[in-house]
Symmetry: C2
Subunit: 721 residues, 2 copies
């Protein structure tokens, strides 16, 4: 009960972490391997064979964590599809990264390990049965999603905070510690496994963690910076917000168009084929652009400022060859000039470096300090436009794609452009007081701002930026840019994930409801719970007729029912608790507990199902249930049979009174993570019910807007009488 005895929970958290970590390792290894393979076979367009799996499940995971109940996102088939699709999509050179799918995969693992049973594989082990309830399920899925980020970015704290920002409604410090542990294990496992392998080739000492590899975009030269650096950071923040909002807008438009287009295709097989074709089309477009565009660019000599290679004086020149894509440029020759300074006439193709390699590498180039004019305006702008449009297109297609790397990349591109403008104005300065005018610094700030503008994450993003760059010095700049980007973006629309959730009709409750009626923001304090509730609720009695129950379940789709109770025959029926549809179904499956009406004086103690048994997560067989319900409702035998619901009712179900302020009701609903809330009157009689859908912004707008036009807003006086 207490966490001192919670060893199995911790064990499971550790396990989830390890498995997610391993998975993250596998994904990267396979991608590395495939990329290597790809460039050997690029002419053959091997990517045509890439199958399409499920699209990125990140919005669904976020919706689930918010409390919405979504089916079929956590099963082994989705897992396999996402894994294969993601690996192939990233390796094939599409403008996407492995992060979104990785979060989804982590969530699936969290679900799978804790609920260890899979209908598709038919596995059904009785381990960890005590976690088979929705609260624990959500906790493990949360931890798994966090571990996904921890693994892919080597950012354990960032992963933890991501879950915090997205799951904030049921935040609980105990869950935080367990997620902390899970993320740590995931990051550790990935680090340990990747310590020696690269593309499945053994390349180093096992168990030796190199900072170089662990910190994704390690910034080695922390810059002392002037307070003036905040001016471009403010600009980048605002730009990030604007571009982010534009990105969300375009992405939603494209997705709507796509949904409309596919809905016009009626045949399922044809629809699937056309989805596949779309992905292939995007892929062909991408590959063509990345392969042919760089031919329009000249080769640029490699320049590195002397003050920026303190550590690796001699190795430097030979390393550059590996660091920058040569593409169509002649190989370098080495000259040793006066003063023993080695000069190289190495050249590289800017556009090829930005476009043809994968996003991770591109970000690394852009973040690098002391490379002021490595990339010119032309290549940066070209890459920006192409990346922006193509990742917008890719994001909604049928391949599992993550948007994190593309977002960071786009941000880094315009950040670097801003930095380059500064350099053009102020010149390259290598002295102590001017060193902050470095496009690499502003690339990092820009990356954070665009990510924030699209995803509207703040705290976790800031921590992730520190964890992937190891640069605490520019933290304040990043915080500022992130904050401004979020505020500016929120002015225009919701975050990408919220918008996608809305598009998919998943009831996601924001931290605070913004209800707008005729361009006025409504004050929810002025409305009452009764204004949004659904009246005329179907209530159940403690002793309920089987046929009635069966009919009720067959004819409605409500997922929970209030149960009422009458202490004396002459009194009114008062609210006692709730019972869910699932529990009712399980009860109806067990004929042993049915009673006849006459056995009021208990002849034999009635059979009671155990708690464990009725807390099923899912109906095993939907069709059989439908048949059973039909049988119960028609067979006259069941007209005389009853079920005693009393032992199964959730008596700690929260209720609010009808006159409660809507604001308060929303907060109670969200912070207790409810799915239904019964509304009662002064005498504790059920008058209505509120579900998640009733509290969605657009629903509130409709209901409250109608109220406002038809009558005065509720005053307290009215609600009393």
């Amino acid at each position: 009960q207490t966490y001192r005895m919670d060893w199995d929970r911790w064990l499971l958290m550790g396990l989830i972490g390890i498995v997610v970590g391993t998975l993250g390792f596998l994904i990267h290894q396979i991608i590395d391997y495939l990329i290597k393979l790809k460039w050997e076979l690029v002419e053959n367009y091997i990517q045509f064979f890439c199958p399409t799996g499920a699209p990125s499940g990140l919005p669904e995971v976020i919706g689930f964590l918010n409390g919405a109940s979504i089916q079929h996102i956590f099963n082994i088939k989705t897992f396999g599809g996402t894994f294969v699709s993601c690996v192939l999509a990233v390796a094939s050179g599409l403008f996407c990264g492995p992060e979104g799918p990785m979060i989804h995969l982590g969530a699936i693992i969290g679900y799978g390990l804790s609920q260890f049973k899979s209908e598709i594989l038919g596995i059904h082990l009785p381990s960890f049965t005590r976690f088979w309830n929705s609260a624990d399920k959500r906790n493990f899925i949360t931890a798994g999603a966090g571990a996904g980020i921890a693994s892919v970015f080597h950012a354990p704290v960032g992963g933890l905070l991501f879950t915090l920002e997205e799951v904030a409604s049921f935040w609980d410090i105990k869950l935080a510690w367990q997620t902390f542990f899970c993320c740590m294990m995931a990051a550790f496992t990935t680090d340990l496994l990747s310590s020696s392998l690269c593309g499945f080739v053994y390349r180093g000492q096992f168990g030796f963690f190199k900072a170089e590899k662990r910190i994704l975009f390690w910034v080695k030269n922390l810059l002392d910076m002037s307070v003036l650096a905040f001016v471009p950071a403010i600009f980048l923040g605002i730009l990030g917000g604007l571009l982010g909002a534009l990105f969300v807008f375009l992405n939603i438009k494209i997705n709507k168009l796509r949904m409309w287009f596919f809905s016009t295709i009626l045949k399922t097989s044809l629809r699937k084929t056309s989805k596949l074709l779309e992905s292939v089309l995007v892929l062909v477009l991408t590959i063509t652009a990345t392969v042919y565009l760089p031919y329009f660019f000249h080769c640029t000599p490699v320049k590195i400022l002397p003050m920026f290679d303190l550590t690796s004086k001699s190795k430097n020149i030979s390393q550059v060859k590996w660091q920058i894509s040569e593409y169509n440029c002649p190989p370098a020759t080495l000259q040793i000039g006066p003063n023993l300074v080695k000069n190289s006439n190495q050249t590289f193709n800017e556009a090829a470096a930005l476009l043809a390699e994968n996003g991770m590498r591109g970000i690394m180039y852009l973040f690098r300090r002391g490379t002021h004019e490595e990339f010119g305006y032309a290549s940066l702008f070209t890459a920006l436009v192409f990346y922006f449009l193509l990742s917008c297109l890719t994001a909604g297609s049928a391949v599992a794609s993550g948007l994190v790397i593309p977002m960071l990349y786009i941000g880094a591109l315009y950040g670097r452009i801003v930095g380059l403008i500064l350099v053009s104005i102020l010149g390259i300065r290598t002295d102590e007081y001017g060193a902050w005018i470095d496009p690499g610094l502003f690339a990092a700030v820009g990356a954070a701002s665009f990510f924030s503008g699209v995803s509207r994450l703040t705290i976790s993003l800031t921590v992730i930026m520190v964890e992937i760059t190891n640069d605490v010095q520019s933290l304040l700049l990043i915080m500022l840019a992130v904050m401004l980007a979020k505020m500016v973006g929120d002015w225009f629309n919701m975050s990408l994930y919220s918008s996608l959730l809305k598009l998919k009709c998943i009831p996601y409750l924001d931290a605070e409801p913004f209800v707008c009626h005729r361009k006025n923001w409504l004050n929810l304090e002025l409305f009452a719970a009764s204004d949004v509730m659904k009246p005329n609720v179907k209530v159940l009695h403690l002793k309920e007729n089987i046929a009635f129950l069966a009919q009720l379940l067959a004819n409605t789709s409500h997922s929970a029912f209030p149960v009422v109770y009458k202490s004396k025959p002459d009194q009114a029926e008062v609210f006692l608790g709730t019972i869910t549809r699932l529990e009712l179904c399980v009860l109806l499956e067990n004929e042993a507990i049915f009673e006849t009406e006459s056995v009021e004086d208990s002849r034999s103690p009635p059979t009671i199902l155990s708690y464990q048994k009725i807390r099923a997560e899912k109906l095993l067989d939907q069709q059989w249930m439908t048949m059973l319900l039909g049988c119960y409702s028609t067979d006259p035998r069941y007209q005389r049979l009853f079920i005693n619901l009393e032992p199964y009712v959730n008596k700690s179900a929260v209720s609010v009174q009808a006159h409660f302020s809507l604001q308060r009701t929303y907060i109670i609903f969200r912070s207790l993570g409810l799915r239904h809330l019964t509304v009662v009157n002064f005498h504790n009689q059920v008058v209505g019910i509120i579900t998640r859908k009733d509290l969605m912004s657009f629903q509130l707008e409709e209901k409250l807007g109608f109220q406002q036009t038809s009558q005065q807003p509720h005053s307290d006086e009215e609600s009393l009488n």
Copy 2:
């Protein structure tokens, strides 16, 4: 209403950040200045003149954030006292740091700016009146406390997460963003102001942020590390937990002894004097130890491994002189040896470096990489024992002292000892694969583990460690050590702050109640809300007699009363809402709203006080109120006067039913941040009330333990009938 219109809230958050940042800057400058002054006057024991102020208010702030209502911790007098006391204590060389008081000062500023009025100064401006309610008050205090940490550690994200970990019960993403902004402003202001000044002397370019100064304990050499490094990290984590628990235990014992001792002194003036004397005694002890102990140590030559000073080849030798305390050692001479390598015969006193300088400097020495044998076992052990005991003693005395720096220091000391043992076994290795065997690395891990062992913070501590060292590479080691330290420590006792709060009888609700009866953990699911509630509640009616109200307020000390309501004369009275004592007092002060019984048919619309007016935070004059209540209860005129409470009742007050499970009740109480919770029966009639104090662990133990011995645990059957 929505945050788009919340510009004043953001403005205020920014203001709080700026003021706290300025304050943090001032504290550091004054301390630096005084330390400089002090060493010039050390023989005169100038510290004798140091006044004693309030002790560190951190536990109180934490209790307040948890939801307890604590008086007199947020006023200008406390502010001044804490500021002076903290500055003098740290500068005088006591074993304490400025962080705890800084958090308290930040909280006071958050309170003061938002509630801008001070009874003591008599200021009472009507600005920001819309924030004069307890929810906003708490939000601003939270932000201020976070800004305190952000300012003192230059750790904005750490400050934010600290408030999260301590205030997790009412966490809200909107508050998080605002705190994020406030912390950013605080860190920025401190950075900006300290950029040019040191000890109030102008020393550099204003507005130029040097990484060297911003990152407190900047680790420049990230170490590639072997997986073997996790073994000493696990050991350090366990050790941190054990020593942390011991520290808490000792500190509480000493505080109990101290409280008992001072309670035996009856005269107030004498008690104050003896408190002062105690501080002076501790101070003398500290100064004597720090000044004379180092005489027992020899001078050690300065050694620095060649591979670790890549950046500052030439400056190095001359800088060392400033970096390491010379104390009684002869000044260095410079020799230029073969290969142009400069050698110095500089020596320093290990114990003086560790003891006689302030903690901040000591931590910097201990964290430094590549200084494997700079400090020997003797000096480290001596410093460890002295610091451990003296900071334990100082922590509870009458001076405002922070424990953060001492905790980090103690941890760094034993971490370095462990590192030194490793070095002794494995030898000094400078090759790539052995570089991780560095006492500096383990000092950082040890510091985190001890801090966690004492404070039981995890997430915020990890982030703070990254922000003060800029070392993401050792993040996993630190996470592991922190986690283990917390788990081991929790095995023995509560965190220092929780223990202090318990000692001070402040009702602090833990994330989860651990209720132990006869060495068995009780399962709160088996108990009901009715088991802990206080029955026989004094309820008020909508129309209440003045004399009755006055008597009720005079004779009880309850801070809120349920209000009941009867719709028809023949029906039972049902629960409508609550009204607080403060609101009642304000109502009673306004005779204009009193009514006679007969005016049922409203001749004139009754006067109603505005919402703004009755939401007073505090009674202006307690004595006058007592007099007024006395007058009302005795004067027969008021027997016939009534007050209509209806417009003033909080009708959105949450209630639970008596049969609710205790576990669920606790969660509702804590996550909605309640102070009282009315318990009703099936017919919504008031049967009891639950306050924070009723949910404290020891209260639960008493009540539930008694229940368990006297009867069977409540089953659901019983609670129904």
